[in-house]
């Protein structure tokens, strides 16, 4: 699912993580190098202090304990020195028995060296000339507390970065959702359009969306208009073709033809074929199919009129009833749906003994329509043939073949499927499953 929200979120997180980590690391690095410079100064001063502590005593050169900081006395205090004179070496008492790897070049050592008790030492080496003697003074300071505090700072920094990213992402989602609300509205409206709950998108969209909304509305209007026009034109064409056919039908009854029964039969046969062909093709061309998203069939207004019509056509005591969920609106073109139900119910009425029933149910994937009658039904072995050809086998009552052909076209256009079954009423059940067109946004972002 490609969502603008997701993309923006991902981009933002990536940038934020990268920038914060670089900033954090760079500031730590800068701080540490400044700190090391200060510490190096301090250590150099220490060496100078130690140099001063080398005094000439009664036994020759010695280290004046009074001038030594007490931290050099306490074992493993973290402050150490080693003074090398030609022929003499002093080690601070704090070193105890440890002998660290003193650096070999003067100045601050690049690397930390291993100290006693897992200490990490920052070492400094200074060389002096004193009284013609070369004095090598090396001092070291335990660097681990600083390392630890750096780690703490880094950890705190990371936590802070994490928290701020979280906050920023939440904030960004909110802002983006606010900014994308018109898009979300448009999406919902398109879903409503497909379910047949509206015919147009709202026109008060923001300027960025306005052309899109206008174009969609324009297309909807255009499609509806085109459908209306083509239906009208087809109606006219039908009228133009069917009236002459009716005339020809009547002409075949002329007395002049009574003497030529084979001619009359052939003429009527051809005329019937033409009629059926014209009716079938015009019927098929009339179908809206899935062209129009904003259409719907309102059961509670359309079905009573359809059933009144059927009751009037079949005024022979067949009881007709229908059942549908309350306020049921089927998301398909009204005329197509009337054609589908009209043909199937008409068929059922022709065959029923006493009862015809229409049941409309919602299912998970769409709708299920059942048309039941208590007529003679169709033997299971012959049902497939009926479905395939769209004709009822025994065509003694007119109109079946044609009607079922249109029904098949409509169901195919809606990508539904249908089956013929035994009806609980005793006759035939036509069972139709129609999948609902869904707006392709199952993801709910809130």
């Amino acid at each position: 699912m490609k969502s603008i929200q997701g993309r923006l979120g991902l981009g933002l997180i990536a940038v934020l993580v990268l920038v914060s980590l670089v900033l954090l690391q760079a500031s730590l690095w800068l701080f540490e190098s400044a700190l090391r410079r200060t510490l190096a100064d301090n250590l150099r001063e220490e060496t100078e202090g130690l140099l001063v502590a080398i005094v000439r005593g009664p036994d020759g050169v010695q280290l004046d304990p009074d001038r030594l900081s007490p931290r050099y006395q306490r074992p493993f205090s973290g402050h150490y020195f080693r003074i090398d004179l030609p022929g003499r070496t002093w080690r601070s008492r704090s070193l105890w028995d440890a002998s660290p790897q003193w650096p070999s070049s003067p100045g601050l050592a690049d690397e930390l060296i291993e100290g006693p008790q897992d200490q990490r030492l920052l070492a400094y080496r200074a060389e002096y000339q004193r009284g013609g003697q070369r004095v090598l003074i090396q001092v070291a300071q335990d660097y681990s507390p600083i390392l630890q505090s750096f780690d703490r700072v880094r950890l705190t920094g990371l936590v802070l970065v994490g928290v701020s990213i979280l906050l920023l992402v939440l904030l960004q989602r909110y802002v983006v959702r606010l900014a994308l609300r018109p898009l979300e509205q448009a999406r919902q409206q398109i879903a409503q359009l497909q379910e047949g709950h509206r015919r147009q998108l709202d026109t008060d969209a923001p300027t960025e969306l306005q052309p899109l909304v206008d174009e969609i509305n324009h297309l909807l209007g255009e499609t509806e208009e085109t459908l209306k026009r083509s239906r009208h034109a087809l109606g006219n064409l039908g009228h133009a073709l069917k009236t002459p056919l009716a005339v020809l039908n009547s002409l075949t009854l002329r007395d002049e033809l009574t003497e030529h029964p084979s001619l009359r039969t052939a003429l009527r046969e051809q005329l019937t074929q033409m009629e059926q062909r014209v009716a079938r093709e015009l019927g098929r061309a009339r179908l809206a199919g899935e062209a129009l998203p904003g259409t719907f069939f309102d059961c509670e207004t359309e079905l009573p009129a359809l059933f009144d019509t059927l009751a009037m056509i079949h005024a022979r005591g067949v009881s007709l009833d229908w059942q549908a969920p309350a306020a049921c609106r089927l998301p398909w073109d009204r005329e197509d749906m009337l054609e589908l139900l009209g043909n199937l119910l008409d068929n059922a009425c022709k065959w029923a003994k006493t009862r015809v029933r229409l049941t409309i149910d919602r299912t998970d994937e769409g709708y299920r329509l059942c048309i039941d009658d208590d007529g003679p039904g169709i033997a299971p072995s012959r049902r497939d043939e009926v479905l395939a050809r769209g004709t009822r086998l025994d065509e003694r009552r007119d109109g079946h073949g044609l009607g079922l052909g249109i029904v098949r076209d409509i169901i195919a256009a809606w990508q539904g499927d249908w089956a013929l079954e035994d009806s609980p009423l005793g006759g035939l059940r036509v069972d139709i499953h129609l999948p609902q067109r869904v707006a392709r946004t199952p993801e709910r972002t809130r």
Binding site: K242, A246, S250, L251, M312, E335
Partner: protein
């Protein structure tokens, strides 16, 4: 039975007038919606066959206006527009039946026959039966107590009208209005002659005469 045929296609109208005439209906023909609008309510038709695609005024509007003015005559709509949506539209406007073009002339005859019987409250059976009489409308013969009685066209028309209005008092002018189209000279003597001939064929009691009022059929059968 007098019918109004409103159809703008002249060849079809010619055929229909001829075939309906053969079936013993008196047919008036109009091709324009505005004329039909007027004449439908001004003349006492027993049934109207209305095409929907009319010049002057659309058939559905004509039908709505007729019903709006309280016309109760059965109307059979004849149209090439056969979709269910249009069919429902037609019946909502007040049509009693709906026949789509092209149709078989027999189908039209059967529908007209059924509508006329429904309008008269007579059950729709193959034969029109009243008392001991049974009329075969397709063949134009009458059966009485198992014997077939052949009828002339005029006799058939009159008997059918009587049988569709059993027990009703019908004046001579009323009968003439319903048996002849608007262009035929109406001679009330012809009705008298036909009534007498029917009595001769079917028995005196079949049609009762009330002086000054008219005839009554089926009083004693």
């Amino acid at each position: 039975m007098r019918l109004l045929l409103v159809e703008d296609n002249v060849p079809l109208a010619d055929e229909l007038i001829a075939s309906l005439g053969r079936q013993g209906y008196a047919v008036d023909w109009l091709a324009d919606g505005r004329d039909a609008d007027y004449q439908g309510t001004s003349e006492p038709y027993d049934l109207i066959v209305l095409d929907l695609g009319l010049p002057g005024k659309p058939g559905l509007d004509v039908l709505r206006d007729w019903r709006g003015r309280g016309l109760a005559t059965p109307v059979l709509v004849l149209t090439a527009r056969g979709s269910w949506a249009e069919r429902i539209e037609g019946l909502k406007a007040g049509a009693d039946d709906y026949l789509t073009k092209p149709f078989h002339p027999e189908e039209l005859a059967l529908r007209i026959q059924a509508l006329l019987r429904r309008a008269s409250g007579v059950p729709n059976q193959p034969l029109l039966e009243v008392g001991a009489l049974a009329l075969d409308e397709q063949r134009g013969v009458c059966r009485q107590d198992g014997n077939e009685v052949s009828l002339t066209a005029g006799e058939f028309r009159l008997l059918r009208y009587f049988m569709l209005h059993p027990g009703r008092m019908l004046s001579k002018s009323q009968l003439a209005e319903h048996l002849y189209d608007g262009e035929t000279e109406r001679d009330s003597n012809v009705i008298e002659v036909l009534v007498n001939r029917l009595r001769g064929k079917l028995g005196r009691d079949v049609i009762e005469t009330r002086r000054g009022q008219g005839y009554r059929f089926g009083g004693s059968v």
